[in-house]
């Protein structure tokens, strides 16, 4: 079995250049690649384009990369929890492309699956549709949307094996498995790395063919945005 293991986050992100197009998994702060974000912060690179559903918060997640002005453009669906993001955007320091969440997910999926374009009803009649081809199918109007691909997709899983096979936990799965095939190089950080053969093939969510680098992460903070409890 091909061994995809690298030593740590530092090694995994060492060759990401300025101007790279990155995808990062996660929904809110759940399932984000914490170790790779920390390692990227230590690199002297900028002008990154990042595809990620959200943009972190001011002092965690992608918010840290924004604060260091490493990001030129964000492609996201919801960025509401980040004041620094909003400031940079309104000041014109940051480009942003806001995309309906399902369209974002399907563009990523299409990028990894070799489907250059598809039609969706989301955004018809809104500013999202501006400049895009529309077509009517069976009496309903749809928008054409293009695939999304990245130089690197950076994802986080619960368990992984040295062959790059991945298992996710809870709603931390979100965009992670669909981003893996959409990156020329997929970097996966996992909470628990086992030898190939240590995972049940029936239980694997993301096949290792999509993953080029894998390492065991450490010190996961897993910060919670909205701690809600019942009495």
């Amino acid at each position: 079995m091909i061994n995809k293991t690298v030593k740590d986050a530092t090694e995994a992100v060492a060759d990401i250049p300025s101007g790279a197009m990155l995808m990062m998994g996660g929904f809110g702060l759940s399932g984000i690649p914490e170790n790779c974000i920390s390692a990227l912060l230590k690199r002297d690179i900028n002008n990154l384009t990042i595809v990620s559903n959200n943009a972190g918060v001011d002092d965690f997640g992608i918010g840290l990369l924004l604060k260091k002005h490493m990001v030129k453009k964000m492609i996201s669906s919801y960025v509401g929890e980040n004041a620094e993001f909003e400031r940079q955007l309104l000041q014109g320091e940051l480009e942003v492309e806001l995309i309906p969440q399902g369209t974002l997910a399907e563009r990523v999926r299409a990028g990894g699956a070799g489907i250059p374009a598809f039609f969706t009803p989301a955004g018809v009649g809104t500013e999202v549709a501006e400049g895009k081809e529309t077509r009517e199918f069976d009496g309903k109007v749809y928008l054409m949307e293009r695939w999304l691909k990245a130089d690197f997709s950076i994802i986080k899983a619960w368990k992984g094996d040295t062959a790059g096979n991945l298992i996710f936990k809870g709603t931390a799965r979100n965009f992670n498995p669909i981003m893996a095939p959409a990156g020329k190089i997929c970097i996966a950080e996992v909470e628990e790395l086992v030898e190939a053969g240590g995972l049940d093939p029936n239980e694997i969510h993301c096949p290792g063919i999509y993953v080029q680098r894998i390492f065991q992460g450490k010190d996961y903070e897993k910060r919670i945005e909205q701690r809600t409890v019942s009495n």
Partner: protein, 219 residues
């Protein structure tokens, strides 16, 4: 006038047995508290879960288990987890029967605006555009007027819209209204103590009142 919880309580009456339902952030999330126990429904969270349960006890909090509002949650028995592309395949594919969401404005044609205030607020649409473009039945939960007293039920939305001709029903603090392509907002019920005249005065779009309009009843 209804409280936010009463708006949620009224909307819960629209829920039918066997439905898969997506609840938006804010008042719609509260609807879950009022769905009668005898109804078997499944709540979808678009970040990848069918089967949202109650908020966890402090000791059961799991950072890897949140809803679309990023709140910590639990799963009910029979739940299933999936990725974001699968989640929106469920939504676009019409498998989710009922969508309940908040709005800043609704037009008399059923257009909805809820994602952007130009120059002021840039939060993004999240999954709202996919939901309103796809769901069979869309109910809006909102205040009838904005904080400065402006009607949110308009002839045309003034804010950037989220979706066109999609809202079927609106429950506000003052009324229950249906949206009809010809009749505009059709007044179906009044909040207790609220007159038809007040609703007329606070509805900027076309309002149709047919016969006696009953007051809502709360058990």
């Amino acid at each position: 006038m209804l409280t936010k919880n009463q708006i949620a309580q009224r909307i819960a009456k629209e829920v039918k047995n066997g439905q898969y339902i997506n609840l938006g952030i804010g008042i719609p999330t509260l609807v879950a508290n009022y769905i009668p126990d005898h109804l078997e429904v499944v709540l979808q969270s678009e970040n990848g879960l069918l089967g949202i349960g109650p908020f966890p006890k402090e000791e059961d909090i799991d950072p890897d288990l949140i809803n679309a509002g990023k709140q910590t949650i639990t799963m009910v028995k029979g739940s299933v987890l999936f990725n974001s592309a699968e989640s929106f395949a469920m939504i676009r594919g019409g498998h989710v029967h009922l969508t309940i969401l908040g709005a800043m404005e609704v037009s008399e044609k059923g257009d909805i605006a809820n994602w952007k205030i130009p120059g002021k607020m840039v939060k993004g649409m999240g999954g709202a555009m996919d939901l309103v473009a796809s769901a069979e039945n869309i109910i809006v939960a909102m205040q009838h007027c904005s904080r400065d007293g402006q009607s949110k039920l308009l002839a045309e939305c003034s804010l950037p819209i989220t979706g066109i001709k999609c809202v079927k029903k609106i429950v506000t603090d003052l009324a229950v209204l249906e949206v009809d392509p010809e009749l505009g907002f059709v007044l179906k019920e009044r909040a207790p103590g609220v007159s038809v005249e007040e609703i007329k005065a606070k509805t900027a779009g076309k309002l149709t009142v047919e016969g006696e309009v009953p007051e809502m009843v709360f058990e």
